[in-house]
């Protein structure tokens, strides 16, 4: 098989089933690429070569025995936020640098069961808090399109690994844009499913009412294939939704004739780089040419999404991260004077600056006397934002616009200014507050850097989004571009 690293997942699946390549040989192709490129990119925290070979050998047995699924033998990388039994799960933090989970996340378990081969664990902003991957205890990830620039975050390792074709598909998570923003910055395709669509069991918690697992791959069709296995009800996740999983792959051929596309005025306002806005307009024109109907809509509370998010998410984080106390697992400071001293110094040493800032904001917002002014107000704004989307979806099927206001920024450029960093998620955060599914598609380049197009759908419309993404990718080849470094 020629260049398996640039093949689609369906092509890989066919090649494996037809015996044109073995799972072992395929895994070696990607391990070799990781060895060659990842000393620069730093997209993996852990590469599990021995486990890869064991899983690949088992996959080859299944393929020979005729007991394989469409995913058997296909390699995958997992964001280091998903617990993997027997392999370190660091969440990008010193706190968990030696943590080995005693169980697998449901996502990992399901994809293992389907026969996928785990290449390793991808780098990320610590506890998924960040938009640049500079907040990882294991060092920043570099953007394969320009190694002086960030890959976005928090799933920066997964996005960079896919852009460089170090893995054919990777899991990721999205609390405020952490799948879509890095997918946009790295020129790859990323899907954040509806809240509750993918199990959060074994996914290290950041903000529980917003966190959602998803996927990053080269194309929408690749994501469709894996999401079918990954999505679905899980009784071990109390917020998992019991709603049937569609056959996303079989929906990929649908015509978009008559599809109602909404364009939010707020997504093309000031602050959006002209080339980024233009790329979205070009993409929309292309879809219009296929019979989609375009109309303008309003999302009037867009600007309030970032302020509301920076109450709701830190409040939930401060509560979730209270578990890291140096007693049962994780980092413990040496030579403590007493229990309180041990808690305080273990946490001070184990967490990085951004995580501490968010814990403190959240602690403040939830402290006596401030609850109504902050958390309650944030949840009320959340209702307004959700209402904007609900109103829009009465008239349109999807909302299309830029994923981010700019392309990837330089490493260090926003590191000293947390608020400037937060504002790079202005177009993605509202989707999490409302719990909607959304994806980012590569839609062009400016000065050699990728531009992302975001499409937002109504609840459980993952199939519609993936089909729209696929239709767009039949008409464009942005998603096939590979950085020179990785060609």
């Amino acid at each position: 098989m020629q260049n398996p690293h640039s093949a689609s997942l369906l092509e890989l699946s066919d090649a494996l089933h037809e015996g044109q390549i073995t799972s072992m040989a395929l895994a070696e192709v990607f391990l070799q690429r990781i060895r060659q490129q990842d000393t620069v990119l730093n997209s993996f925290i852990t590469v599990t070569e021995d486990e890869v070979r064991a899983q690949a050998a088992a996959a080859d047995d299944r393929l020979r025995a005729g007991q394989a699924t469409r995913l058997t033998g296909i390699p995958i990388a997992h964001k280091d936020i998903f617990c993997t039994k027997g392999v370190k799960t660091t969440c990008g933090s010193r706190m968990l640098q030696d943590f080995i989970a005693p169980y697998d996340a449901t996502v990992v378990e399901r994809l293992d069961r389907a026969g996928m081969v785990t290449l390793g664990k991808t780098n990320m902003d610590e506890f998924a808090m960040g938009s640049s991957n500079e907040n990882s205890y294991f060092g920043p990830v570099r953007n394969p399109w320009d190694t002086q620039r960030v890959p976005g975050g928090s799933s920066g390792g997964s996005a960079a690994a896919i852009a460089a074709r170090l893995a054919p598909v990777a899991t990721a998570t999205d609390t405020g844009g952490s799948i879509r923003q890095p997918a946009a910055f790295c020129g790859v395709t990323g899907l954040k499913p509806s809240y509750g669509r993918v199990s959060r069991y074994g996914m290290v918690a950041f903000a529980s009412s917003l966190d959602q697992g998803g996927l990053i791959a080269a194309s929408a069709a690749d994501i469709a294939l894996v999401l079918e296995e990954m999505a679905g009800f899980d009784e071990r996740d109390s917020t998992s939704i019991d709603h049937p999983v569609e056959s996303y792959v079989s929906m990929l051929g649908q015509s978009i004739e008559g599809l109602r596309i909404g364009i939010a005025v707020e997504h093309f306002s000031q602050g959006v780089e002209p080339a980024v806005a233009q790329a979205s307009k070009d993409a929309i024109a292309l879809l219009e040419g296929q019979g989609a109907k375009v109309r303008e809509i309003r999302l009037p509370h867009t600007e309030l999404s970032v302020p509301a998010y920076y109450v709701v998410a830190p409040a939930e984080a401060s509560s979730n991260l209270a578990r890291y106390d140096g007693v049962r697992f994780g980092h413990r400071a040496a030579d403590s004077q007493d229990l309180e001293d041990m808690y305080k110094r273990s946490r001070a040493q184990g967490f990085g600056d951004e995580v501490k800032r968010r814990i403190m904001i959240g602690t403040y917002a939830l402290s006596a006397g401030y609850y109504d002014a902050y958390y309650l107000k944030g949840q009320q704004i959340r209702r307004l934002i959700s209402g904007d989307f609900a109103q829009a979806f009465e008239d349109v099927d999807v909302i299309v616009g830029p994923t981010t206001p700019t392309v990837a920024f330089k490493i260090g450029e926003k590191a000293q200014d947390p608020v400037a960093m937060y504002l790079s998620d202005i177009f993605t955060i509202g989707v999490n507050l409302a719990g909607l599914p959304a994806m980012s598609l590569p839609a062009g380049f400016t000065n050699g850097l990728p531009i992302g197009l975001q499409i937002v759908g109504n609840y459980f419309d993952e199939g519609r989004l993936l089909n729209l993404g696929h239709q767009y990718q039949q008409l464009s080849d942005w998603h096939r571009q590979v950085p020179a470094l990785s060609a």
């Binding site: 080995i100 005693p102 509806s194 809240y195 509750g196 009412s209 109390s238 917020t239 939704i241 509370h301 600007e303 309030l304 970032v306 302020p307 509301a308 920076y310 401060s318 106390d325 007693v327 049962r328 697992f329 994780g330 980092h331 413990r332 403590s336 007493d338 229990l339 001293d341 041990m342 808690y343 305080k344 110094r345 946490r347 001070a348 967490f351 501490k356 800032r357 403190m360 904001i361 602690t363 403040y364 917002a365 902050y374 309650l376 107000k377 944030g378 949840q379 009320q380 704004i381 959340r382 209702r383 307004l384 959700s386 947390p418 608020v419 937060y422 507050l433 409302a434 719990g435 609840y459």
Partner: protein, 95 residues
């Protein structure tokens, strides 16, 4: 919405985070700036708006109270910083 040093010290204590004198100043600046951003929420009138806790307004599922987990204490304690005789060891609490 500015915070002063005393307030930041109090928040750090509530969050059980040790903060050095040198770090305190940068937290005062950063947290105040974040709260300024958050204060933009106040431009919206939210009178009579019901707070939203779950995107689909789902409620917690209940299940029958059955034992589903087996005892895996040794496995779970493998990752603990300090364990003795099946107990988690912490600095002395009671004199």
């Amino acid at each position: 919405m500015g915070l002063n040093r005393n307030e930041v010290e109090k928040i750090a204590h509530l969050a059980r985070l040790a903060v050095s004198e040198e770090q305190l100043e940068s937290y005062v600046t950063d947290l105040s700036r974040i709260l300024d951003l958050v204060a933009e929420m106040n431009t919206a009138d939210t009178t009579d708006v019901a707070p939203m806790a779950h995107p689909l307004d789902a409620t917690q599922r209940l299940r029958t109270d059955e034992v589903t987990e087996s005892d895996q204490r040794a496995l779970f304690q493998d990752g603990a910083p300090e364990v003795e005789a099946g107990l988690y060891i912490v600095p002395k609490v009671i004199e």
